[in-house]
């Protein structure tokens, strides 16, 4: 291992950054007394591998590259490393390596991106190897000290034992020597049947500080000499600042500066954020609203509607001859669904803190992707990578808003650049957060199903029309003009494999229509509305065929046994086929999302034609391996809050080119009184790694909608949210 040095950060700011992050940013500080070939934590403790630091008192510090935003990945990843390290779980702590260090060390910690439910499933191999290699080095170091063959030694519970003699030594005592060894090349991993920490519902490592107010979020950061900024960007996307009258507010108490941020935003910097915010509210700003100032939800909907019957469309999945089958059908069923723009609305609005000087730019930010925040810092500061650093702060929710987008980092750096040497904390108001989202894309879907004269389901055409995320956010990921992410849950194979490959003829295609409203990945994103489209239509088809919805699906799922297994699991638990309590109706849905198989059964009653009560949800997931079943259950329960809030209450409407909703009073979110009882079935079948944070959201809405239709005598609602139809969740 090469010795490395900290980037040029003053000791003082280093310590501040470390304190703000809540853990020691304990990386690579070269301290001469310990010799040249060991990478050191800030306190001098040796790094055994990039993933593992062991202190003399046996404390194990596990490096976590992904971001914790509530989903539990910090604990799950620590379990993965600890399993192979054979360490004492009670001695485990964690810390985030910084993106700047990652760049210096050729991405020693791999990908920092925490989205797409990838935190564990995309890094399980190399983080476990990081733990296993460290264990092998610790055992080797002990064997060397004892001058015994390494094969005679074993490791458990942070101790190395020489088996023939019974001699023992703790990890903390041999870590220094272990860190000097060459890491092994061949690093075998345990058989899953031997796991002791993975698969167990161990307690989260990050709970206590969240109960006492001690946990520091980006909003809470304090740095010496720090000022606070409030910002407003042109509410019409693509618009610019024409002028602002700084003199009107610059004399207000605490106000330090009124300044442009890029060409589309204005910020006020003041001693406190309240001073900055109230001054910004009073600041006259004239916008050049640009070419989109006349766009409305209705005009976008018209364009998407036209796409439903357009000739050109990208084919995402097909089998047989769907158009031929439908042309020859004895009976056809047709339905059009529509899904709105939605905001992520994490509880903590967007924010970032930046400090800029001519030879250093530092950013403190709650981010789902430290490397992307780092890239934004480089671009906005104009400084090279060795003069930039990003410190990740705990997130008050992310849901995708803080992953692919770092507009708030760009803004914070642009502000700090105009006030060199002064740390500036930029906080968005909730209103700014609602207006400047990266919205769940807007689509419509027309589905046509055909039956032959014998009532056999013969063909399906599913035409999606509307917005592509990748065209806007990651155009390099497009495939010959097609956005594969549009087809989540409908794909021919892979992590979003379609579950009804038994349909003899099907065609699933996308007429891309991109409005000016910026789209984003949104906890699950397209799987959510795709699940509504296909799963509600499955019930419509079953009703048209006068068949039971479960039996109808089963006949189409012979090629999808794992999809079917989770569906069967919820049906069995719910007592499908047996009578429900009086007035209660059931609905089903299944999907494959982020490589996990998920299904739900909802039990619902509807009173007065518009008041929906959800009595019970049963939700099953097969994520391959269940790293922490207790946290998976929490993600499942929480996903129904997220998914049903979206279904019942959430829509961002567009008027005059801008988003109309500005706060939770017009963009509602479920309360505890509406929360149904969620029963989880975690049924890992092994052999693959599926995601957890997002997949189960997608079955929430269609299961409830199918139960509602059953309760309402077959009446279907096909545009969302349900509040637009006067329907409320009680």
């Amino acid at each position: 291992m090469d010795s490395i040095e900290m980037p040029r950060v003053s000791r003082r700011s280093f310590v501040i950054g470390a304190a703000a992050a809540g853990t020691g940013l304990a990386i690579g500080l070269k301290l001469p007394p310990f010799g040249p070939d060991v990478v050191r934590a800030a306190d001098g403790s040796p790094e055994v591998t990039a993933w593992v630091v062991i202190k003399p008192d046996d404390t194990v510090v596990i490096r976590i590259a992904r971001s914790e935003m509530g989903q539990g990945t910090l604990t799950g990843l620590a379990q993965m490393v600890a399993e192979e390290l054979e360490c004492d779980w009670s001695k485990v702590t964690t810390e985030y390596p910084t993106p700047g260090q990652s760049v210096k060390r050729k991405r020693a910690w791999g990908d920092f991106s925490t989205g797409g439910s990838r935190g564990i499933r995309n890094s399980h191999d190399y983080v476990r190897k990081g733990g296993a290699a460290a264990r092998m080095m610790l055992v080797q170091a002990a064997a060397d000290a004892w001058k015994v063959p390494v094969a005679e030694c074993s490791a458990a519970n942070s101790m190395v034992t020489h088996n023939p003699s019974g001699r023992k030594v703790s990890y903390g005592k041999v870590a220094e020597a272990a860190a000097r060894l060459t890491p092994p090349k061949d690093v075998p991993l345990k058989d899953p049947k031997d796991w002791k920490i993975i698969g167990k519902p161990v307690k989260r490592l990050d709970t206590v500080d969240k109960l006492t107010g001690k946990q520091v979020y980006g909003f809470d950061l304090k740095l010496p000499g720090m000022l606070n900024a409030a910002i407003m960007e042109c509410p019409v996307f693509g618009g610019k600042v024409k002028s602002f009258d700084a003199a009107k507010v610059s004399g207000r108490k605490g106000v330090k500066k009124v300044l442009p941020v890029g060409d589309s935003a204005v910020a006020v910097v003041a001693d406190t954020w309240w001073q900055a915010k109230t001054a910004l509210d009073a600041l006259p700003i004239v916008w050049d609203e640009g070419p989109n100032a006349k766009v409305s939800s209705a005009s976008i909907a018209e364009i998407n509607k036209a796409g439903l019957d357009a000739d050109q469309a990208f084919v995402g999945n097909k089998a047989g001859d769907a158009k031929g089958a439908l042309a020859g059908a004895a009976k056809k069923v047709e339905a059009v669904y529509a899904y709105p723009f939605q905001n992520h609305a994490p509880m903590e609005p967007m924010n970032a803190t930046a400090k800029y000087t001519a030879d250093k730019c530092e950013v403190w930010v709650p981010t789902q992707n430290g490397e992307a925040a780092f890239a934004a810092t480089l671009a906005a500061s104009g400084l090279p990578a060795d003069k930039c650093e990003v410190y990740k702060i705990h997130l008050g929710g992310g849901f995708g808003r803080r992953g692919a987008f770092h507009d708030y980092v760009t803004q914070a750096v642009r502000i700090a650049k105009q006030m060199p040497g002064v740390p500036v904390k930029l906080l968005w108001s909730r209103e700014e957060d609602m207006r400047q989202g990266r919205f769940h894309p807007v689509t419509q879907c027309k589905l046509v199903g055909g039956f032959d004269a014998s009532n056999n389901f013969t063909g399906l055409h599913m035409r999606i029309s509307g917005q592509s995320i990748l065209a806007s956010v990651r155009p390099q990921a497009m495939k010959d003009g097609m956005d594969p992410a549009t087809f989540q849950g409908l794909a021919p194979s892979g992590e979003f494999e379609f579950g009804y490959k038994g349909i003899p003829n099907y065609l699933i295609d996308h007429a891309m229509r991109n409005p000016h409203v910026p789209p984003g990945f949104w906890r699950g994103v397209n799987i959510n509305q795709n699940a509504i489209y296909i799963e509600c239509f499955m019930d419509e088809l079953a009703a048209a065929a006068k068949q039971d919805p479960l039996e109808f699906r089963r006949k189409l799922m012979a090629k999808n046994p794992k999809h079917l297994a989770v569906l069967n699991a919820v049906a069995e638990r719910a007592g499908w086929g047996k009578p429900a309590p009086k007035g209660v109706f059931r609905g089903l849905a299944q999907m494959k999302a982020f490589d996990s198989y998920v299904a739900a059964c909802a039990e619902v009653s509807v009173s007065g034609g518009n008041k929906v009560k959800i009595h019970r949800i049963i939700c099953a997931t097969d994520p391959g391996h269940a790293v922490n079943p207790a946290q998976i259950e929490r993600q499942i329960a929480g996903s129904f809050v997220y998914g049903l809030s979206a279904l019942f209450e959430q829509e961002c409407t567009v008027k005059n080119g801008r988003i109309e909703q500005e706060n939770f009073n017009t963009y509602g979110s479920m309360k505890i009184a509406q929360m149904p009882k969620v029963e989880s079935i975690v049924m890992p079948s092994g052999g693959f790694w599926g995601g957890v944070g997002e997949p189960t959201i997608c079955v929430a809405a269609p299961a409830v909608l199918n139960a509602m239709a059953a309760a309402m005598g077959g009446k279907r609602i096909r545009s969302f949210p349900l509040k637009n139809h006067g329907i409320t969740l009680v």
Partner: protein, 149 residues
Amino acid sequence: MAKLNINGKVHDVDVEPGMPLLWAIREYAGLTGTKYGCGVAQCGSCTVHVDGAPVRSCVLPVSAAEGKKITTIEGLAVNGVLTKVQKAWLDHEVPQCGYCQSGIIMAVTALLNSKPKPTDADIDGAITNICRCGTFQQVREAIHAAAKA
């Protein structure tokens, strides 16, 4: 200049009287456990106790809190000993991201003070906080556990 009694300590804060209590707590007293989530009394992240009653501090003017006893999340545990609500939260692992939990814990603490054995309906009526991670199932379990403790 306003005098605010927060967690038993008097803070002299030089603010305009119309400023919401939330910002006096966060930016003048330096207690950041109380969160900003909406600024319009919708989400409850800013909930504190004023003379024992739960209030949404983002819309309560500082002037209305003068001379009263304000308790924030930092004022619950005494000498690091968690309250029964905090203990139940720990045992049931309620928080996910945790940002809204200060406000929920304050609302629940006030509920249990006035109603030591709340029914589910009591909980539904009293706890109207927003949690985007969706911790409500654990919140309900933990409330009942705290009530039994």
